[in-house]
Amino acid sequence: MLTATELECVRGNRTVFQELSFSVRPGECLQLTGPNGSGKTSLIRILCGLMEPSHGTVSWKKLDIRHLAEDYRTCITYLGHRHGIKEELTPLENLQIICGLNGTEISRNHAVRALEYMGLANRETAFARFLSEGQRRRIALARLVFNSSEIWLLDEVLTALDRDGMESVQALIDGHLARGGMAVVATHHGLGLSQGRFQRIELAA
């Protein structure tokens, strides 16, 4: 169980949010909504440990994630709105490298299948610089296809995707929840999930 206790986030001299507490159980999806600047990205970055909250703690299985460090990082997969796709590499290289870096190597065969699932068939070996923004987003999302980490933290990942792409992502999240995974998703789009429990937090501006 992922628990946030009395989180507070201060950016500059503005308090973005405070006294935010919630928990996400296995098989549950938490959607974060709210206007621009309401702290969705900050909250997700706090949840994955990239940012320190000004107050409060995030705990995973009752242990503070600051103390868990690497043990926590093996349990999460974070996709930010800056997707971290290298333009000089092909989709195949991008995918195999990011999986390898996380200690979950995947074979070329699996990588090709994951990319095909995300609608990038026959594009595996084109340089990412020649692909559209939506297609680059799809490379980043292909990481979720054979992903078994327990927590998915997805920040605005539906941006630039077409309808078809969104449906693929929804299916992936559904499958993840059905396996007992947890997901925190920041998005303005409806998620239309059919599996697992669902809760929503609306952050105020």
Partner: protein, 214 residues
């Protein structure tokens, strides 16, 4: 799941070397810069072989320092801009190992190229085989120091406008000891500088990255 650091480290090196190879222009411009500066000195000076031989160490070292600094602030800045630095930090690998991997890859690409071309450039200064060997050794131990210190500078100025100049101002004084020892041909003293740099610089760079991101 037990994290396998060896596998992750191998992928990191593979990533960095592949990226360096795909950005060949950066690699070759640093190398060309090095060759040009080193070659201009013998052309512009009195062809007195004693004079040339005595300045060779200094010229090669200063040029190597400038060549490694060329575009070095991009070391983390590129990854920072496209979001892959976040991904690198979130791998199960400690950030220190990631920094070590990135600097090791820099050494394997630009570092090795500079060292390999140096004996050839030394010919222009009429270096004896013995001098050349000593110089190559001092560069072999010294260039890692320069790369590691540059990594600290790059990490400290991450996300700062005009960071390249500030990084240079931070890094240059730190490079002076190895420059003095290396240009003077004191190979063992360069090694003595390398040892603590190898231990402390990755930690400093990792800490600086965390601060820049917070």
């Amino acid at each position: 799941m037990k994290a396998n650091h060896a596998v992750m480290f191998r992928w990191l090196i593979r990533r960095e070397v592949l990226l360096a190879w795909r950005r060949k222009a950066d690699l070759f411009s640093a190398l060309a810069f090095y060759i040009i500066i080193v070659s201009l000195f013998p052309l512009s000076m009195d062809p007195d072989s004693r004079l040339l031989r005595s300045i060779a160490g200094g010229v090669l070292w200063v040029s190597a320092l400038l060549a490694t600094m060329l575009g070095f602030h991009r070391m983390f800045a590129n990854d920072f801009a496209d979001g892959s630095l976040d991904q690198l930090i979130l791998t199960p690998q400690p950030l220190v190992l990631t920094v070590i991997g990135k600097t090791a890859a820099q050494f394997l690409t630009i570092g090795i190229s500079l060292i390999l071309i140096s004996p050839l450039l030394g010919l222009q200064y009429g270096l004896t085989p013995n001098d050349t060997r000593q110089l190559a050794w001092s560069l072999l131990l010294g260039i890692p120091v320069l790369i590691l210190l540059n990594a600290v500078g790059a990490a400290l100025t991450l996300g700062v406008h005009g960071g390249g100049l500030i990084a240079a101002l931070i890094v240059l004084p730190l490079c002076v000891p190895s420059l003095v020892f290396g240009a003077g041909g004191n190979v063992s003293l360069v090694g003595a500088v390398l040892a603590p740099t190898l231990v402390f610089a990755p930690w400093a760079a990792a800490a600086a990255i965390r601060i820049s991101l917070g």
